[in-house]
Symmetry: C2
Subunit: 295 residues, 2 copies
């Protein structure tokens, strides 16, 4: 799939780098994404050579760019290049948008030409029907100025994921952990939003102080009534069902969190069934239960 001049590195299938509308062959060393994490990104699940949720991702990218006053490349070009990079594959396409080049120092240049990178990555492994998660020790700091957007300052998530001790979670480990804010409220997983079902009511944490406004989160909010509010650890642990959602892995139900164990819940199955009709990358698992209304 990769053309001769695509950048190839060990962990990606292929990548293309651009400055504004122009393809370039390497990332400039004065890139502000590299220096300061001065950028935002989208991770899109491709299916059969298409990026079905391109519009959702692009809208979120626009919101992040507006917040950080980042310049954007033309959408039509970005989409065409992303689809060309995907080719006919079932793969993940990542779009990383940086503020481009800058001098030494935090001050953004008055006029910035965006440097953006498209990369293609293998699909994640097939998901188990229930996943095991833990509470991370690393907390999310409260920063309303950055909350919601998918920016590239992700050391908190890196630290949280590095806590993983796979030996202690045999079988069904999600490669995920739940994160609390420094205030103690439950916010999200390291790379997913969370939804909590209790007495047939869905709730999800507010992301006004930390956390990311996920595209799959946005999709779920359009499907069922969901209350957005501050959630505590007890709200999560006493749930009737707990799910992790993101745009690459879809909807994952948690089966175990510490001593707490959950069985598959019909409301989650119903949500996944609806997703299977909304995005071709998330077909129903073969042994799903019969039809069931969304709560």
């Amino acid at each position: 799939m990769a053309s001769r001049d695509e950048v190839m590195d060990a962990n990606i299938d292929a990548a293309r780098i651009f400055r504004g509308p122009t393809r370039i062959d390497r990332l400039p060393a004065d890139n502000r994404g590299l220096a300061y994490g001065d950028g935002i990104f989208e991770t899109m699940r491709g299916a059969g050579g298409e990026l079905p949720w391109w519009e959702r991702h692009w809208r979120r990218l626009q919101r992040g760019a507006e917040r950080l006053q980042l310049p954007l490349p033309p959408e039509s070009l970005a989409r065409a290049e992303a689809e060309q990079l995907l080719g006919s594959a079932d793969a993940v396409v990542k779009l990383l948008l940086t503020r481009g080049s800058g001098g030494r120092g935090y001050l953004p240049p008055p006029v910035a030409e965006p440097v953006w990178i498209l990369s293609r990555h293998p699909l994640p492994a097939p998901e188990p029907s229930l996943v095991t998660v833990r509470w991370c020790r690393t907390r999310l700091s409260l920063q309303p100025a950055l909350a919601g957007i998918k920016h590239c300052n992700r050391l908190e998530q890196v630290l949280a994921r590095a806590e993983d001790e796979p030996d202690t979670a045999p079988g069904g480990a999600a490669g995920e952990g739940l994160m609390r804010s420094t205030d103690g409220d439950a916010v999200c997983a390291t790379a997913a939003n969370i939804f909590v079902l209790k007495r047939d009511c869905w709730t999800t944490p507010l992301i006004d102080r930390c956390g990311v406004e996920g595209t799959m989160r946005g999709w779920v909010l359009e499907q069922v009534p969901v209350e957005q509010r501050r959630l505590c650890v007890e709200d999560v642990e006493s749930a009737d069902a707990l799910v992790l959602v993101n745009a690459v892995r879809g909807i994952l139900q948690v089966g175990r969190l510490g001593d707490r164990v959950w069985a598959p819940h019909p409301a989650v199955s119903a949500l996944r069934r609806r997703l299977s009709t909304a995005h071709p990358a998330f077909p129903l698992p073969p042994s799903g239960p019969g039809p069931m209304e969304l709560s």
Copy 2:
């Protein structure tokens, strides 16, 4: 100065990129510094072809690397390459250390080979004898896990610097602003630590929840008795003298902060005189006052 194969970009004089001990010609597209700000950096003031405070910078880099569990290149190689890149220049040398390559996702690879970049930059403009600063609107979030280290998650500083309105601060503007935490305490400037003098006693904010353990801060702590504690805005504004310190610009006294105006203070002059003997890049200004003891 730059050898034929050095990376050249618009905003830097020269750069060299390494993977572990090996020089490479471009940054791999799967670099985790680029993806997540998963790295740390040092900015060193060179003088006459030397990096006089190399050891201070390397020790801080080591502390940051230990906190984030980042792999380090051999110090002898890094130093030799940094000095070679500096050449005989009076310039700034930046060392950016990243966790190197990784797959998609926050989980650090079990064994990482560091990718590190050395770049040479022009000296800052000559400093005025007194600088003007303002309070930034952007606050620093509280994150003890990252406080103190000079990591590459710097969007808060980028947002704070982007607030600058040069038209409102004619003459002597420091290109700097003072930052408070989300809790309201005064912490630092966007790219400098602060010291406050009151009734002949120096104090500086604790950096246990946010802020950076600056190398110039460390030097000052070795020179004079300084109390490290939580400072409020009133502590700063009621000071007898307020200084900004960092390793590139040295010691800058604030002459104006909003309505507050300060005259040059002999204790600051004494500190700068001492610095002039400790680092050749910071000679005394020609019109400095006569000898004076440190308070």
